[in-house]
Symmetry: C2
């Protein structure tokens, strides 16, 4: 059966996004230095060849274990789920060929027709909650896996539903000092994980936790 997984980058001090990284300051990356902080956290990813090709950043880039992991993450994913804020930031940033190539279920109160992008990404706007989005994503993913893409509040919702089979964290050595924490609002009974795999990259430590 297909899995539900989270695959995100995290700052050393536990933030998914630095303070100031909001749509209001999307074009002013020097606001609270959010651009440099985000870049430092994502540096390991931005230089991988597979990621660069997928995002149209041009040729070149690193190959190796991290690049292979990035490719496998993409290839195993049959559907994505994300929050409204992540979608809106992406809408302002992604190339026309949005970098998912799957159905993407956006948790939002906004009513909106599906938005079809070239390259296989279609955004569906789900108004009836996280469990409904997951059911739709599972159906769409078929044998492939469902990725909870973010942001933090959406990951927290699925952790609290107890449905996250694997939690894959790229822990970068950068400190943010503030921002959106991944781990808060997670309630009892707390999800239980064990370490499944560690890939020690030079710029991030990639740990895969699986549900026990």
């Amino acid at each position: 059966m297909s899995q539900v997984f989270v695959n995100i980058a995290l700052s050393l001090d536990g933030y998914m996004a630095p303070e100031g990284m909001t749509l209001a300051h999307w074009d002013t990356a020097d606001y609270k230095d959010w651009g440099a902080k985000w870049g430092a956290m994502m540096g390991w990813l931005l230089k991988q060849r597979y990621f660069r090709e997928n995002h149209g950043f041009g040729a070149g880039g690193e190959i190796g274990a991290v690049n292979d992991m990035v490719r496998r993450t993409m290839e195993r994913t049959g559907a994505n789920i994300m929050g409204k804020r992540m979608f809106e930031q992406g809408e302002a940033s992604w190339p026309e060929e949005a970098p998912f190539h799957t159905p993407v279920f956006v948790l939002t109160h906004e009513k909106r027709e599906p938005w079809v992008r070239p390259g296989g990404t279609t955004f569906f706007f789900v108004n009836d909650g996280a469990e409904s989005a997951l059911a739709q994503a599972r159906a769409a993913a078929g044998d492939r896996d469902v990725r909870i893409s973010g942001g933090a509040d959406v990951v927290q919702q699925y952790l609290n539903l107890g449905v996250v089979d694997a939690l894959e964290i790229a822990l970068a050595p950068v400190m943010f000092g503030g921002g959106r924490r991944l781990f808060e609002n997670v309630r009892e009974p707390l999800p239980q994980f064990k370490v499944d795999h560690v890939l020690a990259g030079p710029d991030a430590t990639h740990v895969r936790y699986v549900r026990t």
Copy 2:
């Protein structure tokens, strides 16, 4: 020159201690389940042979890379610094031969004569702040290193002073859901670290960060 280092265990969600783990509930480890949570975070350490011998837990225990790391951490340490709360909890828990075997500088407002324990541990009570404690610890440590032992607020003070050369974290896969966070109150300019070493144990991921 000797280094200043932090070596602590951390829950997956970023806590050094679970909610409820206070002196008031020291004898009721089922209060908010703090004992089980703490034990789950420290499980990797509690079964190492060197740790068991040092704490008088009896013979046996694991040997290998993690045990070697625990021994090296102890052997390199020429002085410890800790906060008042950690000291008080330890005072209620440590065996008569306290498990430090070095001078220990306790940050506190309490005026108290040095407390000499068998086995080489002497607690000195420092009333004039973190920088003074560090100067005293450096002098006492000689060629060996100074360990910032905890708790979270003390680690934060030294991070903010910019004097932490190495940050060694045993990241355990347990979730606490609440408690004392390691990373908060850390201010700009934020300390800058890079990954120096990763030891992937079965029960915790040991990452060593060094100052850049």
